[in-house]
């Protein structure tokens, strides 16, 4: 008996594969394409937490790495860093609970956001995340910020998570956060137990501490009234647009995004010549009167800081049928279609940056400076800036650059720019939302080493054989 037959005994032979073609098909990540190939040796598709538990026991016995994967749109983690078993959670897709009264939902790890959202919507609820379209599965999105296409001002997906069911490396199944008491009469009503919050241990963990099998979400009521506004500023008014963004996110808005012109042009919008930045704001309300008030506040703020109205952007940038984020993003910036150069793939210059909104001018200036130095910013190259507020005064920016990854010179310039920017950003205290491997496995962290040290200690206790997503928390070593 070998590991493959042991696994086949658990899930059935049809759901275990060592096929080279099957394994290779998991060795990718969008934006990184085939450039980062980390192929699993075995792919297993469990359908229950019990099967996951049995798989981990087998993996421990053989000391074989296990990495979970869901439907990951956008960034997020790719294939396993050290090979071994890849757990594809796509078949674990049931919705366990929609509690409209208490505004809670529980779903299995592989349930897609679009599936869960559809059911929530029918019950007058919503998840205030923008991750509906690309369809990352629920746990994939929780253990990595897998949506990759922006959050609303309500935060990242993980800010909505209140509980996990997790299978530990030993095979033991535990429940943390609201899932700890999910089966009681009160249900999964609150993130916190009588004691420290353990939900956080598993978030953005890439499965390093356990395999998440169920996720409990808190949901929001879906208001009936919505409005969309956008304003623009020239490049030299970057301080003003930043102030407007900060003022807007300080009040109760649903979403605020900051785009530069390259991004807007990439999305196919026609913009005025003097528009370099556009601030898009979405507000919602229970009634028209409330909406009017919020709209007026947004207008007042933007006009106070010198913004010029730019109709037609906010209401079209995210949310019009039948488009959804990944399709919108799918069309590369216009400069990618240069007659002389086919730019074939997005690579994130710096994954996605998390930093204080007040630092937008510093970050934008640095990004452009470094990219221009390496010939990666202005056309015919194709880069763009997007900033979406994660919470009041915290912003996340993806900086994708389209490039021809078959052109070694272009790729080398990209990596040089990437290294320079990361160094500057790390010293500044920034964090990368998509810091997880394999996106930046080579990056050495210097600004959060003590936190990494604690995580490594916990990891050593929970996973003595280091079978779960090995490589993830080796990043902190300088």
């Amino acid at each position: 008996m070998g590991i493959v037959s042991d696994l086949a005994e658990i899930v059935g032979p049809d759901r275990v594969s060592t096929s080279d073609a099957v394994c290779l098909s998991y060795a990718f990540n969008c934006f990184m394409g085939k450039g980062i190939v980390r192929k699993p040796d075995i792919v297993v598709m469990p359908e229950t937490a019990e099967e996951v538990s049995a798989i981990l026991k087998v993996a421990n016995r053989y000391k074989v790495p296990v990495t979970p994967k869901g439907a990951v749109g956008g960034a997020g983690h790719g294939g396993p860093l050290k090979g071994g078993i890849l757990l594809d959670l796509a078949l674990m897709d049931r919705i366990i609970l929609i509690d409209a009264t208490n505004m809670k939902a529980v779903a299995e790890a592989g349930c897609s956001f679009f599936k869960l959202s559809q059911e929530l919507f029918k019950n007058g609820l919503m998840l205030p995340t923008a991750a509906y379209g690309p369809g990352p599965s629920v746990a994939a999105s929780a253990i990595t910020p897998a949506n990759g296409f922006g959050e609303t001002r309500y935060g990242a997906n993980i800010n909505l998570v209140e509980g996990f069911e997790v299978v530990l490396p030993s095979g033991e199944t535990i429940r943390v956060g609201s899932m700890a008491y999910a089966d009681s009469d009160f249900g999964p009503y609150y993130r916190y137990i009588t004691g420290p919050d353990l939900v956080g241990l598993f978030t953005r963990s890439n499965g390093a501490f356990g395999i998440v099998t169920k996720v409990a979400y808190r949901c929001l009521h879906r208001p009936a009234h919505w409005a969309f506004h956008s304003y623009c500023w020239p490049l030299e008014k970057i301080e003003d647009v930043t102030k407007a963004l900060m003022a807007v996110t300080a009040i109760e808005v649903f979403d605020a995004h900051l785009y530069d012109k390259w991004w807007l042009l990439g999305m196919g919008f026609t913009i005025p010549d003097d528009c370099h930045f556009a601030l898009t704001v979405i507000v919602n309300a229970e009634n028209q009167q409330e909406l009017n008030g919020k709209e007026q506040s947004v207008k007042d703020i933007c006009q106070t800081y010198g913004g010029a109205s730019l109709p037609g952007i906010a209401e079209n940038v995210h949310i019009i049928w039948p488009t959804y984020f990944c399709l919108m993003m799918a069309e590369p910036p216009p400069s990618a279609h240069t007659p002389t150069k086919k730019l074939r793939r997005y690579l994130y210059l710096v994954d996605e940056l998390i930093y204080p909104t007040s630092k937008v001018p510093d970050v934008y200036t640095k990004v452009t400076e470094i990219c221009q130095k390496h010939g990666l910013w202005d056309p015919p190259q194709a880069a763009g800036f997007d900033g979406f507020t994660m919470s009041p005064q915290v912003i996340c920016s993806p900086i994708p650059i389209a490039l021809d990854d078959s052109d070694p010179d272009m790729v080398e310039r990209f990596h040089k720019a990437q290294g320079e920017f990361r160094e500057w950003f790390g010293v500044m205290g920034g964090t990368f939302q998509y810091r997880l491997p394999p996106l930046v496995p080579e990056f050495v962290w210097t600004n959060q080493l003590s936190a990494f040290a604690l995580l490594k200690s916990i990891k050593a206790v929970l996973d003595p054989n280091n079978i779960l997503s090995p490589g993830t928390f080796e990043l902190g070593e300088g």
Binding site: D14, S17, S19, D20, A21, V22, L24, S25, Y26, A27, F28, N29, C30, F31, G33, K34, V43, M45, A71, V72, G73, G74, D88, A90, D93, C111, S112, F114, K115, S117, Q118, F121, K122, M126, Y132, G133, P134, G135, P136, R222, F254, I282, N284, H318, I319, I320, W321, P322, Y324, C326, L327, M329, A330, E331, P332, K342, R344, R345, Y346, S406
Partner: protein
Amino acid sequence: MKELKKTNLKDFKESWTFCLHCAGCYYRGPNIPHNWLELPPPEWSPPQRKCPSFEYYYFRAYTASGRGNLAAVVFDDNDFPITDDLIKVVYTCTSCGMCSEICRQFQPLTAIWALREELVQRGAKLPEPLDRIHANIEKSGNIFGARRQPKALEEIPTTGENIYFAGCTARFQQPEVIKATVEVLKTAGMDVACLGDAERCCGFVAGHDGNTALLEQQATENIAAFKKAGAKRVIVSCADCYKTLKIDYPLILGELPFEVVHVAELFAKLIDEKKIRFTHEVKKGVTYHDPCFLGRHGKVYDEPRKVLESIPGIKLIEMERSRRWSYCCGSGAKVISNCYPEFSTAITKERLVEGKQAADTIVTACTSCFNIMDKAVRKQGMELEVCDLSTLVAEAMGIEL
């Protein structure tokens, strides 16, 4: 928004590498998000189960997303080993087009076809019996290797403006469909001709398994025959032929000098013109199976339904997955039914069970779909009748076949 129109590597190369691998093309559940203002309209809400090969083989490799990953590797590496493993992954796609219906930006099915084309060009050994089918097409002009022209076509003239292109399946396996179609059209006052011995396989199977050279050869010969016969309108009963003649031929050889219509479209028109009159009531509850290559690929959804609803006594009940979200019948562009019969049987069974939940009779407008579903019903002893649209129309017109 770019749209891939040809299954050539150039288009594929330029577009597919931007795929974000969002999994929307196969992941279960509706995958059209809300816009915070309203629920997605039903037409934007794909079904729970979308990709037949994912549902049967499970792994991501058996989806458009996974095949796209593999395509990217194969495409960039001329020496990439073409293993049986890879061939199975690539050729278990049914070509149903659900993925491209969901992801209009990338049209992932086009990438899969491009990958097949690449594999054929590299001399890959295709799954059995595709090579034999290719040889049959080249040698005998049909996928079965049959040599004799079927009797059903013998009495039809070989020149005229309205050429009925019966297709391999009807010619050699369903003469009753030919007879019904021709009689309906004649009763409606049309002069119908056929190509006779000059009719060759449209090239559908070759085109969809990557042998685009053979498809082009078939297109060239058939178009020459249509011209020689004086065709102004080519009428087809088979959804596969329809897609090939209507969509692929113009892409290969430019604008055609004749119109291509499916019998469902023509029947609907003749009903409008009151040239088809129904004299017999057909008291049946029926459901309509949209053939992938007539529906999703050909965008013909309304006409067959119009025909059915015009027949006195018929009550049309939709299946859960219908119109643009219709599910494969198991034929899988004839590649699946020929090369992976167990997989094919599983798909057919799933579709028939779905049909049975809607009605006791399932009607389709494709000889391939009819063929595979009818055989499965007989084999499995299901209490479900499978009808071809033309035959049903003939019955309602009181035509004795």
